[in-house]
């Protein structure tokens, strides 16, 4: 059994709980034990909150990390945004003594301390660490003609010296994870660009154009489905496609279907883009 402090993040907890469900089913199958710790807050989010106040962002992230440190467990997150914030804050504070000292001065306000004793992991990294062989032991079904437009999401892979998930200039980690269970990733232009999700509040028209540009590229490349490990990209793809939409799967949903869990038990009916064909 491997133990992790579980940090689902507020987008998944508050809006997409079915992604938490599929993740719990898959991780349970892989003998990963998720500890629910109390009193986490939002990571804080890297798109809106971080650019407003770096110091507040760092203090809030350090507090969340410190909660997992107190439980003596590495922190596992399901969300690119949470990963980006918590991993970068962890990276900064482990490498910059002055910033660590400053943040700990602030954390005294809430009787906490950042020690630098744990790692922050995205569920993608956990899958990488486990490796294809261990995952295939649990796989019961092969997909049937599932051609995937795999969308990493910016905050999983950049900045790459901090993310340290895939150091290639053109990361392919998600393509690999998708192909492990027998789906075929297609190669499409704009695979590493922003989905436009972060723009929907500020400039919906531009955000929607970014999305449709990516969808066009996926379509030309012959994709049948979209897979992403990011709940923000998931919302953008699942809620906002218009004509002839691709069904959208969160990475853990793809793995869940492969492991034989049914669409019903994973709550796939809560997706906005409806389909009878999940590719299996």
């Amino acid at each position: 059994m491997t133990y992790y402090a579980f940090y689902p993040g507020c987008l998944i907890s508050a809006r997409l709980p079915f992604l938490e469900k599929s993740s719990r089913l898959v991780l349970g199958e892989l003998d990963v034990d998720l500890e629910n710790l109390d009193s986490y807050s939002c990571c804080a989010d890297p798109i809106i909150l971080k650019p407003l106040s770096f110091d507040s962002w760092l203090a809030v992230a350090a507090r969340n990390i410190a909660i997992a440190e107190d439980a003596e467990m590495d922190l596992l997150t399901l969300c690119n945004g949470c990963f980006c914030s918590l991993n970068e804050a962890n990276h900064i504070l482990k490498n910059d003594g002055k910033k660590k000292e400053d943040v700990n001065e602030v954390l005294k306000e809430v009787d906490m301390e950042f020690k630098g004793s744990i790692e922050v992991l995205h569920v993608v990294q956990l899958m990488q660490e486990m490796g294809q062989e261990r995952i295939l032991e649990k796989v019961e079904k092969r997909p049937n003609g599932l051609r995937v437009g795999a969308h990493h999401g910016c905050h999983l892979i950049r900045p790459r010296d901090v993310a340290q998930i895939d150091d290639k200039r053109r990361p392919t980690v998600l393509d690999e994870l998708v192909s492990w269970v027998g789906a075929e990733p297609v190669s499409y232009a704009e695979d590493l660009l922003c989905c436009g999700g972060g723009l929907m509040g500020v400039d919906e028209k531009t955000g929607a154009s970014m999305l449709s540009s990516i969808l066009d590229k996926m379509r030309s490349a012959g994709a049948t489905h979209i897979v992403t490990p990011c709940p923000y990209c998931f919302v953008q793809f699942d809620y906002r496609q218009e004509e002839d939409p691709f069904p959208v799967l969160y990475l853990m949903e793809l793995y869940g279907l492969s492991m034989g869990f049914s669409p019903d038990e994973m709550g796939l009916k809560h997706h906005r883009t409806k389909t009878e064909d999940w590719g299996f």
């Binding site: 987008l11 650019p51 407003l52 770096f54 809430v110 972060g198 509040g201 970014m210 709550g267």
Partner: protein, 166 residues
Amino acid sequence: MSMKTTKVDKALREELGTKEFTSMLTLCEQCGVCSGICPLSKLTDFRVRKMILKAGLGDNSLIESPDLWLCTMCYACLERCRSGIQVPEIISVLRTLATEEGKLPDSSSKVARLFLKTGYAFPLSGLTAKMRKELGLGELKVDKKAVNDVEKLTKKTGLKKLVEGS
């Protein structure tokens, strides 16, 4: 001859430090690789390259423009810049300054206020509560300790005052 110091100039010097500010002025070759990779370039008039040029010149119009809020912090330009210009950091300084002047867009203000009030950046809804129950997941509540702690930390470090005023 003395140069007139602008708000933008002053904020960037203070926040980035003299070394980074000077690098921005002297190292940016205006090669445009940032605008090339930026997904906004083909859809809007916003150009990262021009923004960096204006930032180096301390152009105050940067904080007036709605374009300042278009960047989604995708870090594509940061990865490609050969001179190591910290574009997201520069945008952050400009956004903080613009927010101090009351220009935080409503949608961002809503998220920030919700975060300060509940500790979450997304609202808890009855629909989600029902979904969580049906999926056999635990109930999601506003965690009072998290909210109290967030309040103390953001009071000390600036976000609370920036968003809610004094």
